[in-house]
């Protein structure tokens, strides 16, 4: 079945210039593997489409049951260059967690 990522994960977004990073953590330790499997950089790239124009790199941090996604050219130019209402990408975190992922019903426990 399909669920929103935010049902099993939480996170926060930050900015450096035109680069947005979203850290994503499993809401329960057993969800870590699902996120690792489902939320690949390719899937994230497809989710955001032309909102994120640059490379997306995923860093895994198993000791925190988390991941850090670093997305380049993701904020419409960044800081004051960007014409976006949310030029610092404060809502990139929730936009990220809006991604739909595929899980088996028994995986959610």
């Amino acid at each position: 079945m399909q669920i929103y990522l935010n049902q099993i994960a939480h996170g926060r977004s930050g900015d450096k210039g035109d680069t947005s990073n979203v850290c994503v953590f499993a809401r329960k330790p057993e969800y870590y593997g699902i996120i690792a499997r489902e939320v690949t950089p390719e899937r994230v790239k497809a989710h955001f489409g032309d909102m994120v124009r640059g490379e997306i790199v995923r860093y895994d941090v198993p000791s925190l049951q988390g991941f850090n996604f670093v997305m380049k050219h993701a904020l419409g130019g960044g800081a004051t260059h960007s014409l976006r209402l949310d030029s610092l990408g404060k809502s990139m975190g929730s936009a990220f967690l809006r991604m739909k992922i595929e899980v088996a019903e028994d995986e959610l426990g």
């Binding site: 996170g11 990073n21 953590f25 860093y59 941090v61 925190l64 976006r84 209402l85 929730s94």
Partner: protein, 469 residues
Amino acid sequence: MKETEPKRKEGEEAMGKVIIGGGQGFWGDSNDAAIHMVRNSDINYMACDYLAELTMSILARQKLKNPKAGYARDFLGMMKECGKEAYEKGIRVLTNAGGMNIEGLVEALAAQASEQGLSGMKIGYVTGDEISDRIPALLKEGVTFENMDDTGDFRDIQDKVFNANVYFGHEPTLECLRQGADMVITGRSTDSALFLAPCMHELGWEADDWDNLARGIMAGHLLECGGQGAGGNYDYGWRDVSRMDELGFPIAEVSEDNFVITKAPDCGGIICEQSCKEQFLYEVHDPANYLTPDVNVDISQATLTQIGENRVRVGNIRGRRRPDMLKLSLGYHAGYKVAGMLSFAWPDAYEKAQYAADIIMKKMKRKNLAAEEVRIDYIGVNALHLGVAETDPEKLKDLNEVVLRIAIRTLTKEEAYKLVPEIAPLQLNGPPGASFFGGRAKVQEVLGLWPCLIPRDAVKLESHILEVV
């Protein structure tokens, strides 16, 4: 447990533990939590970060208009409220609020402290991080100013640069503490170095003790955004955060092997594993190589453990030798922008807003608008989530209200002004029920940011002490 101590001066024994509070998350933050922690907690130091990436450029612009401006004035207000109490309790306050006019802030602080009867108080300050006048010489020496984000050619923006600030580490701030400063004012110190310097001073850490330096940096990292480290902007369970109207800011108890994040007694907020996690990776890129001027931090194996109510222990942080280069942040003039807004109500709010956008764009075309970029968003529909927002027409047709927002970026001020008079008239000349609010849109200068690397020896930082009379 450590008790509140009388004022401690240089030469006394190190404490074995240092307690540092984060008093400010950015320029414009609330002073309430800082004042609360000075009054109610047993902190030895409070560090206040005022500088986001663009703040230096904004302060540079302010100083250009008024040579006495250029620092974060809010810090003066905070010190008016709690500076005297901090001084009398021996809480040393560190801040990068000096921005582009460090001496200006120091002078204002000294005058205020003098009025408060704090004669003898030592204000330390650090100068030398602004190096825009040295750019030609550095170019000759072979510094390339290559953009770290792989965009553009430095020669295209060189004439438009109006500030060039080096992100510097703990050294000159630590020197101020060693000279007995009760307060330290800097410009573009990294946020985290303001927290690291007290750790080194009190715990005797050496400048090549990479593991400990990395711990001090991460303690600072968890504190430098103020409330965001204590339950603010908390995605995991924001409804569970107590008394957000009295949100406390985080406090770090740093000792030799680990550190604990907590908060002051009798305030709102939450300190738990999830709240610390969200701040831990915030604005970090590679967790195994978090580069700072002081140390290359490795948090890829780090652990966060709840050890009590609102107490989280942070462990397993490693550090490696600091990078050879320093990050330089240049601000440059990059054109102008303006955004106009108009609100519409049910029925067909979204359709009306789209129709109005079409009218404005036709008028702009007739005015031969030469824009670098045009952006049309609908607040209430897709202004935040953009391409991943809900697009189902069934869900959008019955919206109660939608705000049209049209933003343009231009090379000249004149071009940007073309949009300004075209918004309000649509109240009477466009689809029904349009409402104009907030006054005429203001054309703003676009401040470009140019991050690059320079050799450490390109910058000469100096530490000073001023005694309040």
